[in-house]
């Protein structure tokens, strides 16, 4: 077996292989074998037919490993080079149209006669996401089922006061663990009628408020290749594929939370406070930008009921960014 056309692409393959997410180690062991096979015909000078059949490529194949001994990555590329003899007309192969969303397959067309400069330029723009990520978001609060104390009704409206600080550590490219601390508040004016535990009944206008503090442990799952999304750039002259520029995510948070609710009638302020368990599933998007990854997420917060109060349920929409 010979590798005449592969040798000049070895540096490119080495470069692309650095961004490939995973390469199987087993094929690299096989690499020396084909290279040695390529050397064999050159040493068999008494066979004129063989020498004429492949006079020029053989030395080229030998030169490549010698001039670029560096790479172990070059050896990794061997599986890509291996099929070359099976496709003896690489010049007719379709031009490489590398898509950053699938970096591993890109190396195969690169082994053909595709232009070298374009893919190399794109690959160098890849900023590999770091493992540790901090996200800070502004949270908009939507009460879903938030009962007021003393049976005075339920919370409603929209709260614009809230934020979350989220820490994520990506243990795999698609899974992160971390924690979240958040504060949310929602309030509105309403009409209430309730009797408190001291035999006092109040009827009329009231300013009601609910605020929460949460501390959650969380696990995230990214439903796209984070590195590939960050590296994506549309082919020249084509519109960008929005689907390849975002990273959909799901997350689940479990922890504890403090819930404070109050009813202020102007005559008195009735306040309840309790700690309880919290579960908070989330769906969201990470949108890489030149500045920083933007975060958009929707989260449901479920506060477990207890003797001190009923279940509470509200949602938030988070807008913010992450820094790494």
């Amino acid at each position: 077996m010979r590798l005449p056309t592969t040798s000049r692409f070895l540096p490119l393959i080495a470069l692309t292989s650095q961004v490939a997410l995973a390469e199987e180690p087993a094929p690299s062991v096989e690499t020396p074998a084909p290279v040695q096979q390529a050397e064999t015909p050159a040493s068999a000078s008494d066979d004129a037919a063989q020498a004429e059949a492949a006079p020029a490529p053989a030395p080229a194949a030998e030169a490549a490993p010698a001039s670029a001994p560096a790479p172990a990555p070059a050896a990794e590329a061997a599986p890509v080079a291996a099929p070359a003899p099976a496709a003896p007309a690489p010049a007719s192969a379709p031009p490489a149209a590398p898509q950053a969303s699938s970096p591993a397959p890109e190396t195969q067309p690169a082994a053909g006669a595709a232009p070298e400069t374009e893919p190399v330029a794109r690959e160098t723009e890849i900023k590999k996401p770091k493992a540790l990520q901090f996200a800070l978001t502004w949270d908009i609060v939507f009460p879903i089922q938030m009962a007021l104390p003393a049976g005075a009704g339920t919370m409603s409206g929209v709260g614009y006061q809230g934020f979350s600080l989220d820490v994520r550590y990506w243990i795999r490219d698609d899974i992160a663990i971390g924690g979240l601390a958040a504060w949310h508040s929602v309030d509105h004016k309403t009409t209430v009628s309730f009797e408190d535990d001291r035999g006092v009944t109040q009827t009329g206008s009231a300013y009601v408020e609910a605020s929460t503090n949460e501390v959650l442990g969380r696990i995230h799952y990214a439903m796209a290749d984070r590195a590939a999304v960050r590296a994506y750039s549309p082919p020249e002259g084509q519109k960008a594929d929005l689907g390849k520029q975002i990273i959909p995510m799901v997350a689940l948070g479990i922890g504890t939370g403090r819930l404070v609710q109050s009813i202020d009638t102007g005559i008195s302020r009735t306040t309840t406070e309790r700690w309880t368990g919290v579960i908070a599933p989330e769906v969201g998007l990470e949108i890489p930008t030149r500045m920083l990854p933007l975060i958009v997420a929707g989260r449901i917060h479920y506060f477990f009921g207890s003797e001190e109060g009923p279940d509470q349920l509200y949602g938030t929409i988070s807008l913010g960014g992450a820094f790494e």
């Binding site: 504060w183 109040q202 500045m291 820094f323």
Partner: protein, 223 residues
């Protein structure tokens, strides 16, 4: 790090921007409060006597007692004459109100008691209950033990025992029902904001008083 700091600042400004909060304005405060003596059996009461004037709640009774004076009068100025040495007394703390609606107030209160099934008698000494009508003429009136009411109609001071948790706004109407047979213990209290404020309509006052009775079904004699 500048980028991170900017992000932090933006998020904090966004998240905390609305933290100044709301709350009711004085104009919006209209909650009607009623308080009962929990565990009291109201069914044993049949008759009541209604005070013949609106008591101005200005001086704190303990202040008057400490100063050696008696109960305050119908307003702060009258109280001043009876307790010239009372501590913390300042007539500027007390408000004066027109009495244009007093007649309507008494009428609505009497109607509420009648609908609840009570018989009205003239003398408090012959009644099971005495109903005092008062006006909060000073800020920070709590109806706690130190903010009780001294009234010549029943010739004593009573301590509503509502507690400092409840702050009754100035110009509120207070209705205090006391048990004449049991050392004038307060068994029911109603506070209705802004009844004595200027521009208040007669109909709204009557509605508010009716609401105070409506949210106190335990008062009804024939429950």
């Amino acid at each position: 790090m500048n980028r991170a700091a900017s992000l932090l600042l933006i998020a904090l400004l966004g998240g905390l921007g609305g933290c100044q909060g709301g709350g009711l304005t004085v104009a919006e405060t209209n909650a009607i409060l009623t308080s009962r003596d929990v565990g009291r059996d109201f069914s044993k009461y049949r008759s009541y006597a209604l005070s013949d004037h609106v008591k101005a709640l200005c001086l704190v009774p303990s202040e008057v007692k400490d100063g050696g004076g008696g109960a305050s009068g119908d307003d702060g100025a009258a109280g001043a004459a009876g307790a010239p040495t009372a501590p913390d007394f300042n007539s500027s703390k007390c408000t004066r109100a027109s009495s244009a609606l007093e007649e309507d107030i008494f009428e609505a209160v009497a109607e509420g008691m009648e609908e609840a099934g009570y018989e009205r008698v003239d003398s408090p000494k012959k009644a099971d209950l005495a109903l005092l009508v008062a006006r909060v003429a000073r800020d920070h009136w709590y109806f706690s033990s130190s903010y009780g009411i001294c009234d010549e109609f029943i010739d004593t001071c009573v301590e509503p025992q509502l507690g400092s948790k409840y702050l009754i706004p100035t110009e509120s109407l207070a209705l205090v029902l006391v048990d004449r047979k049991k050392k004038n213990e307060v068994i029911w209290l109603a506070a209705i904001p802004k009844v004595f404020s200027s521009g208040v309509q007669r109909a709204s006052v009557q509605r508010a008083i009716a609401q105070a009775f409506a949210q106190s079904p335990y008062l009804e004699v024939d429950r």
